[in-house]
């Protein structure tokens, strides 16, 4: 068979197929959606449901085998245990602090990128902001471990001024997490600022508003959805983290560590599932609050 006739045949059959799909809208839709829906339902929702269900099972304390006896014990333990309350508060505290730190750092950087820098510098800066994402998360966390060490570069820099490295602990964890998630906050804010027309800023200035007033009354309201978008990233990513806190957080635990030790060390998958419900709940509340502000509508 010559290549030409083979081509004709494939052309012919693909033509027939496209005619068929054109005439059968439902088949077309099914074919288009089945793959992503399969992924969404089976991989994502099924996994979540399995997690939720496991939280209501129990585990044999000696052999660590999960038994499918229905019980509310795990959920009650997680809701009432002082350990879980303390760790939840700590985790939310860290997540909020990291979010605030990231927004405070991201706002001026994004503003400079979008409104001050030349087009050329703008491109360079975008690449610079994205660059840390090319390196492995673990490598960056371990880099902070050596930076924050007592004979690390941080100590070396601040010692002449009488300072001391925070060492490994909550401050170290907040610094490292803020660093890790910063690009995820800068980029949406930068994109948001790009959409703020320069003419509005000029008009505001022409009408006699001070720089600060322009920022507060013009830029900030227009930028609000972008800031919210950035905060969702840094907040939710911090909420689920357990590796960075392990590497630079000293002896402190976050919710992720409790899940990790209950799956790995304690062999208590049901309790781990129950603990995993906490961040799901928190994010749900967070998104609801965000939605009420209306920020999601203009995303």
């Amino acid at each position: 068979m010559s290549t030409e006739s083979a081509e004709k045949m494939t052309n012919g059959s693909s033509h027939r197929a496209s005619v068929f799909l054109h005439n059968h809208v439902r088949v077309r839709l099914a074919l288009l959606l089945s793959a992503p829906l399969f992924w969404l339902v089976l991989v994502y929702i099924a996994a979540l449901v399995a997690l939720l269900v496991t939280a209501f099972w129990t585990v044999d304390s000696f052999t660590g085998i999960v038994r499918t006896d229905w019980t509310l014990d795990n959920v009650i333990t997680v809701l009432t245990g002082s350990l879980y309350q303390a760790v939840t508060l700590r985790t939310v505290g860290i997540a909020l602090l990291v979010t605030v730190v990231d927004i405070v750092i991201a706002l001026p950087i994004a503003f400079f990128m979008a409104k001050v820098a030349s087009a050329r510098l703008q491109r360079v800066l975008v690449i610079a902001v994205l660059m840390p994402l090319w390196a492995s998360y673990l490598v960056k966390a371990y880099a902070w471990r050596s930076v924050l060490s007592h004979d690390g570069i941080f100590q070396w820099i601040v010692q002449p001024f009488g300072g001391n490295t925070p060492g490994y602990g909550l401050p170290g964890a907040i610094i490292a997490l803020s660093y890790l998630w910063l690009p995820y906050v800068i980029l949406p804010i930068y994109a948001g600022l790009e959409r703020v027309p320069n003419s509005l800023l000029e008009a505001s200035g022409d009408l006699g508003a001070s720089t600060w007033r322009t920022l507060r009354l013009i830029v900030l309201p227009l930028l609000w959805p972008a800031i919210i978008a950035g905060s969702i990233f840094s907040f939710s990513l911090t909420l689920g983290d357990y590796i960075t806190i392990n590497i630079v957080g000293g002896a402190n635990q976050m919710l992720g560590n409790l899940v990790f030790t209950n799956v790995g060390a304690a062999n208590n998958l049901p309790l781990a599932s129950a603990i995993a419900l906490i961040p799901i709940l928190i994010i749900f509340v967070y998104l609801t609050v965000v939605r009420r502000t209306g920020a999601l509508n203009s995303l």
């Binding site: 044999d60 304390s61 000696f62 052999t63 660590g64 085998i65 350990l83 303390a86 760790v87 471990r145 050596s146 060490s149 007592h150 004979d151 690390g152 060492g167 490994y168 602990g169 590497i247 000293g250 002896a251 635990q253 409790l258 030790t261 799956v263 790995g264 060390a265 304690a266 062999n267 208590n268």
Partner: protein
């Protein structure tokens, strides 16, 4: 041991063995949980032809194939002799190993005493017929058929080596070697933020051992047999320690680094960690007066092993005098084979008190705490490992 161990060897079993020999009826039966009683699994009665692969789960430094140090390789000779290709994975805590064993991906596991009974009770490991393992005859008698490697006189594995959880200290901060564990407990505030402890519920036994010496009225006779009151006392001690802990460790590379940089100056460690620190690190190890907890490790065979013959071959190989000497010297522990001391570097067997039954009896070997008190008390119920796990999470807070 060098840094390249960071690149932990992947434990992915690439190819599964082709055939299981008929004589092995290693069926996985459901087990009655709670007691480490017989699990209904049968031991092998005779060996067949070696399969092609064997996958091993072990502590770091137990299965060295030259990837960490080209000069340290006892896997290659085994592969050449038996034709069994070895894949291995290392773990950091017994609990991690327990989770991994539940995947049934491993033919052989090197387990410490706080893991063995759990593996037996959950039917993850099979009884081992020591008659099929010629190397077994030279194993020190005081290591054979112990509470942590046998049930009702049925052996579940081959002893590998034993050692102690030592106290490491920075010689810059401690002019003389500390003689008591109080430097990490009652006096730990002197080094606030620079104290470390092993990150596992089994570490509660270290506190209990300390209380045995310092609060005799608690009546602790065995640090693994704690009633509710005794456990509470240990938890209180550990919560006091928690305030001064810089970090807990289970990843031995992280703790090595912390001692090297001076972020940690005192805490528990293993000989192998001390050995892997760079030579200029001002850190030394000691055995304090209260005694030490320690481990006695056992090579066990997975109940669902697809390569039981290769597994038996590995057990025989690793317990043979020369390899046992090589592996235990590399890790920094006493060998289990009475002939091994002929092959280790001069002074090593003395340093680890190999063959010294009296010394070996003074180490409180890791044992899984169970409700039935291990010290023989029958009037109270002891706290079990799951209670220790809960307590440990609360201590860490």
């Amino acid at each position: 041991m060098n840094r390249s161990m960071t690149l932990r060897r992947s434990g992915v079993v690439i190819a599964l063995a082709v055939a299981t020999v008929a004589s092995f009826t290693l069926t996985a039966c459901g087990t009655s949980a709670g007691n480490p009683s017989s699990t209904g699994l049968k031991q092998a009665t005779k060996l067949g032809k070696n399969e092609k692969t064997v996958s091993i789960l072990a502590w770091p430094g137990y299965v060295e194939d030259g990837s960490n140090d080209p000069k340290v390789n006892w896997v290659k000779p085994f592969e050449d002799q038996t034709g069994c290709q070895v894949t291995s994975k290392v773990y950091g805590t017994s609990d991690e190993a327990f989770s991994l064993m539940k995947s049934s991906n491993y033919d052989v596991v090197a387990a410490s005493g706080d893991l063995t009974l759990r593996l037996i009770a959950s039917g993850q490991v099979a009884p081992v017929n020591t008659k099929l393992i010629p190397s077994y005859k030279n194993v020190y008698p005081f290591l054979k058929l112990k509470a942590w490697n046998s049930v009702d006189g049925q052996s579940y594995g081959i002893p590998h080596g034993y050692g102690a959880n030592l106290l490491a200290y920075n010689t810059k901060d401690f002019a003389t070697a500390p003689t008591s564990w109080d430097v990490v407990f009652d006096k730990s505030s002197a080094n606030k933020g620079k104290v470390t402890a092993y990150d596992s519920p089994i570490y509660i036994a270290d506190a209990a051992m300390y209380l045995m010496a310092h609060q005799p009225d608690l009546g602790i006779k065995n640090p693994y047999a704690l009633d509710t009151k005794q456990l509470a006392a240990a938890v209180t001690l550990l919560k006091g320690q928690r305030a001064n802990i810089g970090e807990y460790w289970s990843d031995y590379l992280k703790t090595t680094q912390s001692f090297e940089t001076g972020d940690t100056v005192v805490g528990t460690t293993w000989q192998v960690i001390k050995n892997s620190m760079s030579a200029k690190t001002p850190v030394d190890v000691t055995v304090p007066s209260e005694g030490v907890t320690g481990w006695s490790d056992t090579w066990m065979i997975g109940a669902k092993s697809k390569s039981p013959n290769c597994a038996y071959a590995w057990l025989n190989y690793i317990a043979s005098p020369k390899v046992n000497a090589q592996a235990t010297e590399y890790f920094g522990e006493a060998p289990s084979n009475s002939e091994a001391c002929k092959y280790v570097s001069a002074g090593d067997c003395e340093a680890y008190h190999a063959g010294d039954a009296d010394y070996a009896s003074k180490i409180w070997y890791w044992t899984t705490p169970i409700a039935k008190c291990l010290d023989g008390r029958t009037n109270v119920k002891c706290t079990d490992y799951s209670q220790w796990t809960t307590a440990w999470q609360e201590i860490k807070g």
